[in-house]
Symmetry: C2
Subunit: 138 residues, 2 copies
């Protein structure tokens, strides 16, 4: 886990990591949230809607932004203030996701950083883009 | 699970549900994401940072927006396009959260609805506010 202080962070700094989103994470997310929507559970239903298989929960893909902030940028001193997300392509269970962040702003008055985020699948397609405002604790 | 079609949804329509966020969900979310930040795990560390106990992952609280869209508004036909979230108060394991959504816009061209969302704790304090843009599938 990174332990960047506010002063150690520069605009332009980047962090990234790769995870595989599998049925295990799908089942655990469904258990947590109670989101029993068939698009995320039933291959035949998802196929009717034009998908190659059941689709990953968007908010499960977004969950990895927690890791980006809390483990990578800034790591230990992270306190997420706000998040904006757009889902641009479906994610399917089994996909390998690369989660990336780049610091685009620093607010010295409130020790806040703005991090532009993207998630790409194993084909390099962007499946999520957005930004986070993160407080960097003393 | 609700099965609202686009035509059955009106601006001003509301949905809400209540969940308890416990250590079980905290552990499952940590397992999914790999976010091992001590603020969410270590009571003593969180106390040093001014909290009464370890703090819930913000993106775990945000996960319930998946349920709001996929089960309640619009329910089965949901496909989340984008999400904006602000965290306004900390959530602690054991908190009872009421997740609410209100339809504020309908886009007839793309069958999209905009839903204003809020999450309040058992004391009625707003812990998350934001909005979602959601496609309503045929």
């Amino acid at each position: 886990m990174n332990t960047y202080t506010f002063d150690e962070i520069s605009v332009g700094q980047t962090e990234s990591f790769t995870v595989r989103l599998t049925d295990k994470e799908m089942d655990a997310f469904r258990e947590i949230t109670g989101d029993i929507n068939p698009l995320h559970k039933d291959d035949a239903y998802a196929a009717e809607k034009g998908h190659k298989s059941r689709v990953a929960f968007g908010m499960l893909t977004a969950s990895y932004l927690s890791t980006l902030a809390g483990v990578y940028m800034p790591g230990e001193r992270s306190l997420i203030q706000s998040v904006e997300i757009k889902f641009s392509q479906p994610v399917y269970p089994g996909d390998e996701l690369t989660v990336s962040g780049e610091v685009t702003e620093k607010n010295d008055t409130f020790n806040l950083i703005k991090v532009k985020v993207s998630v790409r699948n194993q084909e390099g397609k962007k499946v999520l883009k957005g930004s986070m405002q993160i407080g960097v604790m003393e």
